[in-house]
């Protein structure tokens, strides 16, 4: 009995050393190669931060450009005093009298004019001579929502300036304006925004992080993972491992753990970069929010990211096992990547509180939990279920990969 236990211990030690050796070799493949280190860990971050910063800055500049733009407004039947009123409200706008309706609408379509304001012909008389039962004069405005300048002019003038103009004419008709005002909303309430800055920051991160983690974690592991298995089969180097005195399950575990470490390291770098460069990525805008994380959030994120890295690694290795070449593996992995990407994206626009059972759905639950950690809304139960399901699902996939490694047909040997 004693000798049996000794043998079992030796077997376990041998298995562990096999896993360690395979894992070490796969890590060396990446960490001993400077080009690989750069392309796996830093290039995606540089590209991500670069693209997002560019997009953020371009969108910020576009917004500033719209704000600085001098609105071109055409007015038909302009009442006396209205152009001055408009100028007073929007100093930079250029006002023209509209003589040709067709030409003016064409200019709006082409983006040469931003807003058309059409007053009734005898607007002043209709307002000043108004009696109960008369038709209420209507001012019509026309704009092009597909043009940013036109949309901005509509927002400022049609809903802002004209409302002020209405109030001004009304005050001429009614002596006591205050008597007509039942209530105001936030006319003097500078403190109307009440929010937890950490939660608000988390909301933004929570919206973007699951999406980026999915993209970067999966994409980072995808190239290396397909090469680890399908690449080895293609090059004929897998067979040399298969004739070594090592269990095939050890080869599988060694490779998956190595891929997990690589994608785990890359995810830490990616998430760190995402948090550090968030202000640049949203165009340098000051959102008045705290984008930092507390230690509990960091710990929960770290553990979950490791589990996600484990699951994604297992998925990539599983798909690669069934491919004969890296090219074939990449084409198999791509649909899986797209599916995972869509699941990651769904949480970006979720408003309803998901049911508890949703946290048992692998992959989707990780996006929800990541979001929940950042908004500090995830419960211990939800987090535990997500973590457990991710690890269990990953372990099941490892079992399937192990079986596939035993198959002559799958391994193409």
């Amino acid at each position: 009995m004693l000798s049996l236990n000794f043998t079992d211990t030796k077997k376990e030690e041998s298995k562990m050393s096999g896993i360690k050796l395979i894992c070490g070799k796969e890590l060396d493949r990446v960490f001993r190669d400077r080009k690989m280190i750069f392309s796996v860990f830093f290039l995606p971050v540089i590209i991500m931060v670069g693209i997002m910063s560019l997009v953020g800055n371009l969108s910020n500049n576009a917004q500033k450009d719209v704000e600085a733009h001098t609105s071109i407004v055409y007015i038909q039947n302009s009442p006396v005093g209205f152009p001055q009123f408009l100028k007073a409200a929007d100093r930079d706008c250029k006002i023209y009298e509209m003589s040709d309706w067709e030409k003016a609408t064409e200019m709006i379509k082409n983006g040469d004019a931003d807003l058309l304001i059409k007053f009734p012909e005898n607007f002043v008389d209709m307002v000043s001579g108004y009696k109960q039962g008369d038709v209420i004069p209507q001012i019509k405005t026309y704009y092009n929502p597909s043009e940013d300048y036109s949309r901005a002019a509509y927002d400022t003038i049609s809903t802002g300036v004209l409302e002020a103009y209405r109030q001004s004419l009304l005050s001429q008709r009614v002596d006591n304006m205050e008597g007509l005002t039942v209530f105001t909303v936030n006319s003097d309430n500078p403190d109307m925004v009440i929010q937890d800055e950490e939660k608000a920051g988390g909301k933004i991160l929570g919206m973007m992080l699951p999406y980026f983690v999915t993209i970067l974690l999966f994409a980072g592991a995808m190239g290396i993972g397909t090469d680890m298995v399908a690449g080895e089969k293609e090059r004929g180097t897998m067979a040399s491992l298969l004739v070594s005195p090592i269990k095939r399950s050890s080869i599988v575990l060694g490779k998956v753990i190595a891929l997990m470490i690589i994608s785990g390291v890359s995810s830490v770098i990616y998430v760190g970069a995402l948090v550090a460069f968030m202000p640049q990525m949203i165009g340098g805008a000051d959102l008045g929010m705290n984008l930092t994380l507390n230690p509990k959030q960091i710990a929960m994120l770290a553990v979950l990211l490791v589990a996600i890295a484990f699951l994604y690694s297992a998925i990539i290795v599983l798909v690669s096992v069934f491919a004969r070449t890296t090219k074939e593996a990449s084409s198999y992995v791509m649909p899986v990547y797209m599916l995972i990407l869509v699941l990651g994206m769904t949480t970006m626009f979720t408003t309803k509180t998901p049911g508890e059972w949703v946290y048992a759905v692998p992959i989707y639950n990780t996006s929800l939990a990541l979001q929940g950690i950042l908004t500090q809304e995830v419960t211990t139960m939800q987090y535990g279920v997500t973590l457990g399901m991710t690890l269990v699902f990953g372990a099941v996939l490892i079992g399937v990969i192990g079986k596939a490694f035993e198959s002559e047909k799958v391994m193409s040997i």
Binding site: D28, R29, E232, R235, G236, A239, V243, S244
Partner: protein
């Protein structure tokens, strides 16, 4: 010792393979009820044309694939029941098996040595011995992808012998090698035999089998059609050399065609 008892290996063919083989059969018998015994201190050669079942037999012995029927014992360990034990005993090399091109010869030698649980000092001594014999020292620091075919093949042979195996299985050992490298390989096989190891090779090169094999098993269409020393085979077929003997056996197997 290797003992093969009634080995049969049947492959399932997919549509593409059926089309390539111009057959409607979904199954292909690669090895058909083959039995043989190879003993320590000899070089046993499996001789046969392409597709005869030589490589399949060697792959079954080395546990890469599993026999459909029959048993194979390698130093007393059955290949299906104790594959890891079998792999400890053998060194297997074929043209299809390559070393990872991203690593150096040194790295791969150490890696496989550690997989075989060889102590570091013994590993260093073994490396010195094999690298010196095959003239690998000068390029051992280079990545496999930077080596010529011959250099890479030498490196692969050294790595496959890292654990000083009892049984050496070489599938087409000199295939693709230049004359000098091929000679050093065959000389090393003889050296291994002299040390009491069992060497089993597959080849379709008659001269190679004549020169280095103590016993030869001729396989045609997955079946062993002759076995013995060169002299016995020549005597049984009434031939002057192995090539003539092989053609005689081939004609007989194919029904005199």
């Amino acid at each position: 010792m290797i003992e093969i008892k009634n080995l049969t290996k049947i492959y399932k063919l997919n549509k593409k393979q059926m089309k390539e083989s111009k057959t409607t059969d979904t199954l292909k018998t690669a090895v058909d009820n083959l039995s043989l015994t190879a003993r320590p201190g000899e070089i046993y050669g499996l001789l046969g044309p392409n597709g005869a079942g030589k490589t399949t037999t060697l792959r079954c012995i080395s546990t890469i694939i599993k026999p459909t029927r029959g048993e194979i014992f390698v130093s007393g360990h059955e290949v299906k029941r104790e594959p890891e034990k079998v792999r400890e005993k053998i060194g297997f090399l074929t043209g299809d098996i390559k070393l990872d091109p991203q690593f150096s010869v040194d790295y791969m030698f150490n890696f496989f040595g550690r997989l075989h649980h060889i102590q570091e000092d013994k590993l260093a001594a073994r490396k010195e011995e094999l690298f010196t014999y095959f003239g690998i020292k000068d390029f051992s620091h280079k990545k496999i992808k930077e080596l010529s075919t011959g250099m890479a093949q030498k490196a692969a042979i050294a790595v496959c012998l890292v654990h000083d195996p009892e049984i050496i299985i070489f599938d087409e050992p000199t295939n693709g090698l230049d004359v000098i490298t091929a000679r050093s390989v065959t000389d090393y096989l003889k050296k291994l035999k002299a040390e009491g190891k069992l060497v089993i090779i597959s080849t379709h090169v008659m001269s190679e089998a004549e020169k280095i094999c103590d016993r030869i098993g001729v396989i045609i269409d997955g079946q062993k059609v002759a076995e013995g020393t060169l002299g016995q085979i020549l005597h049984d077929t009434n031939a002057e050399d192995l090539e003539d003997a092989f053609f005689e056996l081939y004609r007989h197997q194919k029904g005199g065609k």
